[in-house]
């Protein structure tokens, strides 16, 4: 197992120097996507998930002839999701004429620091994890297919309302993402007639939430809402249940991952969330992706695997239809219609906001240690 991981890492390094080229198009220059994301540092696991999604997408795209005969490949620069490094990498990609489109970075803060450089140089910055409402406001070269928090949080609040929950206590990650999401969720819950009775902000490196939970409980909520990633979300859920609190837990879609189940154990049963991508989704394109992913990595894909895959499929479709010029890609994004997507069904962009028009989410829950579609109605207590 360890040896396998090592080979995988070395394999990737080799890939970085000699991009995988299918037999079909051996003589042609590859079309290069420049990715910036965290491969080391505290967010390193997310960059590792991206790569798996990208690799499955590349297999599929290049087996189908690449971009009009040219193979598609990517370079992945490690930014540690640090705004200083994304700026430097941006200068590098902008100056490298082989890069036709940039993908990333992970955190909106790190991505937005680099936006002015991409915008000034006319290279599309395509952020697929950037749910920050201001991300695409950086200019007409800044695009995203992430679900905007302004769309996602009201959908989560709808779920809260439909469950019949009125007094919510929120626990959220204290960074720009968690804070923005929390503010939007509070507003959305209040619009729907609910009440937010308490909110606690915790730091990414914390593992002990006992005292935060005592504080949340003191506000006497009828439910707890989490705005977390899966490691801290699992931790919170465990400690909430261990504190003897039985109120329903509803979480933002960012906790969705098979890892959430592994780290949370039996205590995460009954946790509710809304997600744009869900491998149990019966749609054929989702199932063919899940199959390809499981064949390659022997594990179930999670949200970032799915989004990463979706992003490359989308960009490949744009490049096939509109060409691989930097400007053509920007114009193609505003014109492209009906690209099949494991996240959205079909993707088209709103050319004003440069976000995906009409996102939707599935409501799911943890049932017997597995993610399953939520079929219940109101929670009666």
């Amino acid at each position: 197992m360890i040896a396998f991981r090592r080979r995988e890492v070395l394999g990737f390094i080799a890939c970085a120097f000699t991009p995988p080229i299918p037999a079909l198009a051996q003589s042609k220059e590859p079309v290069l996507i420049g990715v910036t994301g965290p491969l080391t540092g505290q967010y390193a696991q997310y960059g590792a998930q991206w790569k798996k999604g990208f690799d499955v997408a590349l297999d599929e795209i290049n087996a189908a002839g690449g971009i009009n005969g040219r193979p598609l490949a990517y370079v992945f620069e490690d930014s540690q999701s640090d705004p200083r490094q994304t700026v430097t990498i941006a200068r590098k990609y902008v100056a490298d004429e082989r890069i036709v489109v940039e993908v990333g970075d992970f955190s909106s803060a790190a991505s937005m620091a680099a936006s002015p450089i991409y915008q000034a140089a006319g290279l599309v910055q395509f952020g697929f994890s950037n749910s920050h409402p201001d991300f695409t406001k950086g200019g007409d070269y800044i695009w995203s297919n992430a679900v905007n928090q302004k769309d996602e949080m009201p959908l989560l609040a709808d779920f809260v309302r439909d469950l019949g929950l009125k007094r919510v206590a929120i626990l959220h990650l204290n960074n720009d993402w968690g804070r923005t999401a929390k503010d939007l969720l509070v507003a959305a819950i209040k619009e729907r007639g609910g009440d937010v009775v308490g909110s606690e902000a915790y730091l990414a490196d914390e593992k002990d939430f006992r005292s935060a939970i005592v504080r949340a409980r003191s506000s006497n909520p009828d439910s707890l809402a989490l705005i977390s990633y899966y490691p801290d979300g699992a931790q919170l859920t465990r400690q909430i249940r261990q504190a003897g609190i039985t109120q329903p837990i509803i979480a933002g879609g960012s906790i969705y991952s098979p890892k959430f189940l592994e780290l949370g154990g039996a205590e995460v049963n009954g946790v509710l969330t809304t997600v744009p991508f869900f491998p149990g989704d019966p749609r054929p394109q989702v199932q063919s992706f899940v199959k390809a992913f499981e064949a390659k990595f022997k594990e179930e894909p999670d949200a970032y695997n799915g989004r990463a895959y979706d992003t490359f499929i989308l960009l490949a479709a744009v490049m096939r239809q509109f060409g691989t010029e930097r400007k053509a890609i920007k114009e193609g994004l505003s014109k492209i219609k009906d690209v099949p997507s494991v996240v959205y069904g079909k993707v088209a962009f709103d050319s004003e906001t440069r976000r995906v028009a009409n996102p939707f989410v599935s409501r799911i829950e943890v049932k017997n240690g597995k993610w399953a579609a939520y079929e219940g109605g109101k929670i009666t207590r």
Binding site: I2, R5, R6, V9, I13, A16, F17, L39, T40, G41, Q42, A44, A48, F76, E77, D78, D82, P83, R84, V87, T88, R91, V94, A95, A109, M112, A113, I117, A120, N174, N175, D176, R179, T180, E200, A201, Y202, L203, D205, E206, K207, D208, F209, R210, S211, A212, V214, R215, R217, P231, A234, R238, Q242, A243, G244, K259, E262, L263, G264, G265
Partner: protein, 609 residues
């Protein structure tokens, strides 16, 4: 049974303090014997957790066997750290082993990340799952096991130190290493035994904590290690029972802090308590005396050496060549990389003044950057002042504010300065995080205006390069002029022997204040420039990693050496860029480079001035 939330907060504080205690005991033991704050301890804790996880997951071992494997494996790592990493540094200046532990920690973390991926993993619970209701919360079997292991190991250590021959040798070595050696104690063996015991404890605590939270990851060690260091500082450096009491106290303070102010204040409380203890009772809360024990000074803290002098004409030529470089190199990426390198060089010269010349090894320089960055950013965003006004203003604000917050630590020396400044740096970032109304809290400052002159924005890589270089030349000249004056001589005198300096009538606080003031001004300007170049700053932009990087630059170049600091900065900022193709290995290579440097050229490339 309801006893109100305060009872729950108390229990929670004790449960968490219990976990800190296992780490703090090992750290106290190592400090007691080798007067070394072991920054690699958190990494051993992480490795111990992985050893346990491997045993359970792949071999299916029961708890006693798993524990034995963790003890053996972690002890071996401890022995290796001592034998390979630290023993060759005997006789080198005392800053060297401190930095070596930081380097070893970095290397261990990176190696584990490469082997096991950064993904967190679950550790199967190997103790019964029952829980006891206490107040409105519960505690489980694992809480009791952790407390039991903490108490038993403290008892075992007490017995070992009092009643065994090796224990006597350990205590003798702790009292006076040279005298112990002359009496025939094999000091190396003692050190090795201490590292083995402490690391075994650290590994066990990592494993238990991993099982406790059902989650381990390669980055889990850094913050845990820091908490252990704070806890043992509260209890008194090198005091084993004090470390346990200090840990419980730290847990309680954090828990009450959360209760009173909210969850995001937790770490702020921890660091504030640490600074208070350092200033008021530097020997820990259980000591009687207020003054620090004399540090055994076989050799000074900083390596003495003859600096390599660079002739003036060469410096001028190099500066001119650097200014003209954008005429040849037009690639924005290279210019940006070098421009950022110049900015770090300014940071490095600010640090070399306090660390090298005044002898206060600071790990809080990032806090000064953050003050400068926020000062300039806020003045530009909220008051719409032009950048040409906000940047010098940020320098002045940082000089005043920075000196004020570091002032209480002026009378500390050696390791204590390093820990205190680390704490001050953390306090600055945590204050920024929590002072929402001024700093936007976690959202940070977006839309910091770019550098500009007469209303024209200077966005391109060339401008970043030229502005960084000009700032560097001006501030380096200022500092060079300062160090050549009587001020530089006075500061060096304080560094080399503060008692002698004081008896010559030098007012230590005033001169240290002056050094920190100039360093704060320089660092504040750097932070301000960075804010305008990055266009975005938040509380995570200037972490303790940045302070560590700055200190490494200064040591690479040679302490107190202005041209050395510039060389160190350019090497360490452009070096990682060179390794960018090896993305995952970059930090590892950086750690190994640091270790090799400490081993083979601790006085830096250009030597200490």
């Amino acid at each position: 049974m309801t006893l109100g939330p305060w009872f729950d907060y108390t229990i929670n504080g004790l449960v968490v303090g219990n976990i800190y205690a296992l780490l703090a005991v090992g750290l106290a033991l190592i400090y007691g014997v080798s007067h070394l704050i072991n920054f690699a301890h958190g990494s051993v804790y992480m490795v111990g957790a992985y050893i346990g996880w491997l045993c359970i997951t792949y071999l299916g071992t029961p708890l006693p066997v798993t524990l034995a494997a963790v003890v053996a494996g972690s002890a071996l790592i401890g022995v290796a750290i001592e034998r390979i990493g630290l023993r060759p540094l005997q006789g080198s200046p005392r800053i060297a082993p401190l930095l070596a532990t930081i380097g070893i920690g970095l290397v261990l973390d990176q190696v584990m990340q490469l082997l096991f991926t950064p993904d967190p993993r679950g550790v199967a619970l190997q103790v019964p799952a029952w829980r006891i209701q206490i107040g409105d919360g519960t505690i489980g079997a694992l809480d009791l096991l952790i407390a039991g292991i903490g108490i038993v190991s403290a008892g075992f250590l007490y017995f070992f130190l009092r009643f065994t021959k090796l224990g006597w040798a350990v205590r003798a070595t702790a009292l006076d290493r040279d005298a112990a050696q002359q009496c025939g104690v094999d000091v190396n063996r003692v050190n090795m035994a201490v590292f083995a015991i402490a690391s075994a404890l650290g590994g066990v605590s990592g494993f238990l904590v991993g099982m406790y939270y059902n989650s381990i990851d390669p980055n889990m060690g850094y913050h845990a290690g820091l908490k252990g260091i704070i806890a043992q500082m509260i209890g008194g450096m090198g005091n084993v029972p004090g470390a346990i009491a200090g840990s419980l106290l730290l847990g309680l303070v954090e828990s009450y802090g959360i209760a009173a102010f909210g969850t995001s204040y937790r770490n702020l409380f921890a660091f504030v308590v640490m600074i208070l203890i350092l200033v008021l009772k530097p020997n820990g809360i259980f000591s009687r005396g207020r003054s620090l024990p004399p540090e055994p000074l076989t050799g000074t803290f900083i390596a003495p050496s003859a600096p390599i002098r660079i002739p003036m004409w060469l410096v001028v030529m190099l500066a001119l060549a650097a200014l003209a470089l954008p005429l040849i190199v037009r690639n924005g990426y290279y210019l940006q990389t070098l421009g950022i390198g110049w900015l770090y060089a300014v940071l490095a010269i600010s640090l070399t003044l306090v660390a090298g010349t005044a002898g206060m090894i600071s790990l809080g320089q990032a806090g000064l950057l953050a003050i400068g960055a926020y000062a300039s950013g806020l003045l530009a965003i909220k008051l719409h002042l032009p950048v040409s006004v906000t940047i010098p203003a940020a320098g002045v604000i940082t000089a005043l504010l920075g000196t004020l917050i570091i002032f209480p630590s002026f009378r500390l020396r050696g390791h204590y300065v390093t820990i205190a400044t680390l704490g001050v740096g953390e306090i600055v970032t945590l204050t920024i995080l929590n002072w929402d109304s001024l700093t936007n809290g976690p959202v940070g400052l977006t839309g910091v205006p770019p550098l500009s002159a007469f209303g024209v924005p200077l966005l391109s890589g060339t401008w970043v390069y030229e502005i960084g270089l000009c700032a560097l030349i001006i501030l380096a000249l200022l500092q060079w002029r300062l160090l050549g004056s009587h001020l530089g001589r006075t500061l060096r005198a304080i560094r080399d022997d503060d008692v002698a300096a004081r008896s010559y009538g030098i007012a230590l606080d005033r001169y240290k204040g002056l050094a920190f003031g100039v360093a704060g001004f320089t660092a504040g300007i750097t932070g301000a420039l960075m804010a305008h170049v990055f266009s975005y700053v938040n509380h995570e932009t200037f972490t303790s990693q940045v302070s560590l990087l700055a200190l490494t630059m200064v040591i690479l170049g040679g302490l107190g050496n202005v041209s050395g600091a510039i060389l160190g900065a350019v090497a360490l900022v452009s070096l990682p860029e060179m390794f960018r193709v090896l993305a995952e290995y970059r930090m590892l290579i950086y750690g190994i480079a640091l270790l090799l440097l400490i081993r083979f050229r601790p006085q830096g490339l250009l030597g200490t001035v």
